[in-house]
Amino acid sequence: MSTTARTVLAVATVFVLLCATASAKTSAGAALYDLDCASCHGQTLAGRSGMGPSLRGVGAGPVDFYLSTGRMPLQDPRDEPTRSPPLLNARQRSAVTSFISSFGGPPAPSADPQAGNLSAGQHLFTSDCAGCHQVVARGGLTVGADVPDLRAPSARQIAEAVRMGPYLMPRFGPRQLSQRQLDSLVRYVLWTRRPDNAGGWSIDNLGPIPEGIIAWLLGMAVLALIARLIGERTDA
């Protein structure tokens, strides 16, 4: 055999082996899909009305987001998906992701926080996100949904959520938010985990509600106690 033929054969072997691995992974993913997802999203990923949307063409991002944050599978399709320990381990999730993304769709989004600008991220977050997520990303309530505290998700999960818009959250595609803006946004969200608490005890960076509790319990209550100790009581 010529060198060329040998090279071709080697490349072909590697390709076949890779395909086999991939298809093994895909078929493992298909089995997991049938077990954990198909009851709502349908055997053919076409979705079932009133149960779950079609997953054809969603790509890897949403699948990874929902599975790695434990939001899927849902016990009841009417529930609001909330963050919980993932049901599938990393290998299983990757298998399901490659199975679902084999039906097409964009590649998984990602973000590089180091490439972002913190100040730009803060401004983007306050104009587009803080209305629901709270300015220091501590979460809150909006009409129809709980808005999660953003101290838990990874940079990748944040990027996936921004690009997809899970549940009631709006979707921010590349036309609304460039990759660099996304990097900045993620950088800011990661910053909020350890914000600059120059004033001391942060009391959760929530503002007036914990401040009022402290004012009454550590301020007024202690002073009332002192008044009680140094003041007299009636002998009546």
Binding site: S119, A130, R138, D196, A198, G199, I209, E211, G219, E232
Partner: protein, 483 residues
Amino acid sequence: MSRAQRFVSWNEQRFGSAKGVRWLLRYVFPDHWSFLLGEVALYAFIVLVITGIFLALFYQPSDTHMIYHGSYTLLDGQQISEAYHSVLNLSLTVPAGLLMRQTHHWAADVFLAAIVLHVMRVFFTGAFRKPRDVNWFVGLTMLMLAIFEGFAGYSLGDDLMSGMGLAIAYSVAMSVPLIGAQLAHLLWDGSFPGGSDFLPRLEIAHALLIPAALAGLISVHLALIMRQHHSQFPGRGRKESNVVGTPMWPGYALRSIGLLLAVAGILFLLGGLVQINPIWQWGPYEPYLSTNGAQPDWYIGWLIGALRLMPNFEPTIAGHTPIPNPFWGGVAFPGVVFTILFFWPAAERRFSGDRRRHDLLDRPRDKPQRTALGAALLSWVVLIFAVGAADRVSFRLNISYAAQIHVWRVGVWVVPVVVYLLSLSAARALQRSGAHPLRGSPRVRLRRRPSGEFELVDAGSPSPEIHERSGGHGERRCERTTE
């Protein structure tokens, strides 16, 4: 002559001050710890003035925008107002600036808390009755001014939270029937977020006009107390005609100075250790920016609760909206509460038929109707206040927001009735039993005689100062009892 004598005679020859000083030093304070709550408010006010002067040296009331290039990288390159910039610098660059700002803010929160507790003490002990009804009006006026004062201060920073608070205040001003639009336009120097005169006006109100009014009213408040003398709880040796307690010197002044130091100490400790209103985290305000869970300081919380709780009631008549919805929660609700409080002394005189002068206080149980109605009013306000945080309750405890609002729209009318009935029966039960609500039944000391029989021993108390009133003519005689 000793140095002290020389000092006294120096003063006496110039000011003739000996008589007044003697009167002041012999002024008798009736003793009860709850009388100190008003003093806590007074001392918090002093801390507010001192820290406020410091802050005023650095604050810039200007909405001119600039691009920030300071030490704080989070906001580097952003458009911010000079007002926000000055508070940012005050917080992060000026030495001791953050300590002063935080102490000022904690002092405001505690100032209002102490006033509210003091008002409750005065109400539930009937200290607002003739001749102290005028001082009750002075006190309530100060409470209203203090609420405005706190809100104005919170709004000066031009940060995200203060801007959102002003947006709500603007809507409430707009909602006043007939004159609302002009009123808001006048106050804000234009439509929201206001013209360039707005922040200077707010600063003059916050740093000069309202504090001056408060200082003047505090003087009137204290002068009236000195003139009319303190009221006191009934007890051994205490009559309508005397005042039993500790004289200013050497007893009461030291205790009061101790309380001043305690108030200042706690407020500066809070200011140094616990972060409050971190405006560098909120960022600057622009009308298109917002944050979830924005809240006012606690003493405005009752109005936020009322705005949230008020059903969507906004009738339109011939294309006009005579009373926009924010009016009910933002204006009518506090208006009703303060009207009740202002008219209470007159109403009580009328309904009880008791128009006499009262220098002896009631215990809450002594007037079950007053106590029960007051408790009902208080529970009404406190519930509406608590509903202002329903979103946080929903988020933390997973109780549906809509369900909370539906329940409390009924609950704020039911709970006060229940509180009224419970307080009424509690007051009556305490009246019958004579027990102390916290300490239980009065302790009785018995002594056993050698013969075996028991006799009642009165627990003697240290001899207090007695100050005889003489018919309210201002002449007073001090004497020490020798029991």
